[in-house]
């Protein structure tokens, strides 16, 4: 008993070290990011909005199609968004519906970029004031929200989408929506 007490500090140290290493390991594997915030919007309806589109029209929350859509918050000033762009193009080719939210950006520059590099969005709204971003709880671009057919926010991803992120976070949720809809 006395012996055990002698080693107690060491045992506590080892337990703490294992805990920290475990967290670090999960960060390294991309399972956990300390900067990611849980979205306050999960399982809540998409905030209502009515904004001008990049091509001169108007788009509101009511115009969202009755199927699962992605809402992608991006801007031309955001380097990670440029990195993400080719993957969004790929998703669009596969038939994924993506609404673009051009966040606090110059609409002309944004339209020009889409003209040059391709437009993955079925519609692009210009959120010049950042009000929709605020309502969405955006912390920075890029961010991507998954909405179901009823316009409920199911998931929010902070950072650039790529194949690994897509397979891990979006594919299972989309599959669930499909089987749910089939019933």
């Amino acid at each position: 008993m006395q012996r055990l007490k002698l080693f107690l500090p060491l045992i506590i140290f080892i337990l703490m070290a294992l805990l920290f290493l475990g967290v670090q390991w999960r960060v390294k594997n991309g399972e956990y990011s300390p900067t990611d915030l849980p979205s306050a919007l999960i399982n809540k309806p998409m905030p209502s909005f009515r904004l001008p589109t990049l091509d001169g029209g108007v788009f509101s929350a009511a115009d969202l199609p009755a199927e699962p859509v992605l809402v992608n918050v991006w801007a031309t000033w955001c380097p990670t968004c440029h990195y993400e762009h080719p993957f969004l193009m790929k998703l669009a080719e596969q038939g994924v519906k993506i609404l673009g939210v051009d966040y606090k950006d110059d609409a002309q520059a944004a339209q020009q970029l889409l003209d040059e590099k391709g437009d993955p969005y079925f519609a692009s709204v210009a959120d010049q004031s950042g009000q929709l971003g605020l309502d969405l709880g955006v912390t920075g671009a890029p961010e991507t929200y998954l909405l179901d057919a009823q316009g409920t926010v199911l998931f929010r991803y902070q950072g650039a989408l790529d194949q690994a992120v897509w397979d891990k976070h979006f594919v299972p949720r989309l599959a669930e929506l499909k089987t749910g809809a089939g019933k």
């Binding site: 300390p34 915030l37 849980p38 306050a40 606090k104 971003g133 605020l134 969405l136 912390t139 920075g140």
Partner: protein, 161 residues
């Protein structure tokens, strides 16, 4: 000479004191105080540990503007807090509400203090019990002490009556 003095003095200017970025107009002192309280108490969602007043990030600017416009349009403190909570969750409050999710934040320090107190009390009690009585008595003195303790003292009996 004068130029080098100016350059030297310029080194003492704290650029950090210019960190306040925007100036907002308020109708009265109370609004100003509420605004300052909010930007001190609300955490910048983009930054890991900065409040709105300390951050120059885009989102912090937007939120400061939002707080200002909500104060000016007569929103109550509760309404403003709820607005922020609806969008950013408990993260945005430096003093989060007491919920199931934040209970550990609120209770852990008190719990650890309680455990520490118990351990301290137990250690202190044990020390009293096991404290050796250090007497520099020789064997002879000890025997005398023993005989004194054993013999029924008249004082004691009187005192007991």
């Amino acid at each position: 000479m004068i130029r080098s003095v100016i350059v030297f003095l310029a080194l003492f200017f704290a650029t950090a004191s210019w960190a306040v970025i925007e100036t907002y107009q308020f109708d009265n002192e109370l609004q100003q105080q509420r605004y300052n309280a909010f930007i001190e108490e609300l955490r910048c969602p983009k930054c890991q540990n900065q409040n709105l007043s300390g951050s120059d990030s885009e989102i912090a600017q937007d939120l400061r503007r939002q707080v200002h416009s909500m104060i000016m349009s007569g929103k109550s403190d509760i309404e403003i807090t709820q607005y922020m909570l609806d969008r950013y969750g408990d993260f945005i409050l430096y003093r989060p509400r007491f919920t199931a999710g934040t209970a550990v934040l609120w209770l852990l320090p008190a719990g650890l203090l309680f455990i520490g107190l118990i351990i301290w009390l137990r250690l202190a009690r044990r020390r009293v019990n096991t404290a050796p009585v250090n007497t520099n008595l020789s064997d002879e003195e000890r025997m005398r002490l023993q005989s004194i303790l054993n013999e029924p003292s008249s004082d004691k009996q009187e005192g007991a009556k």
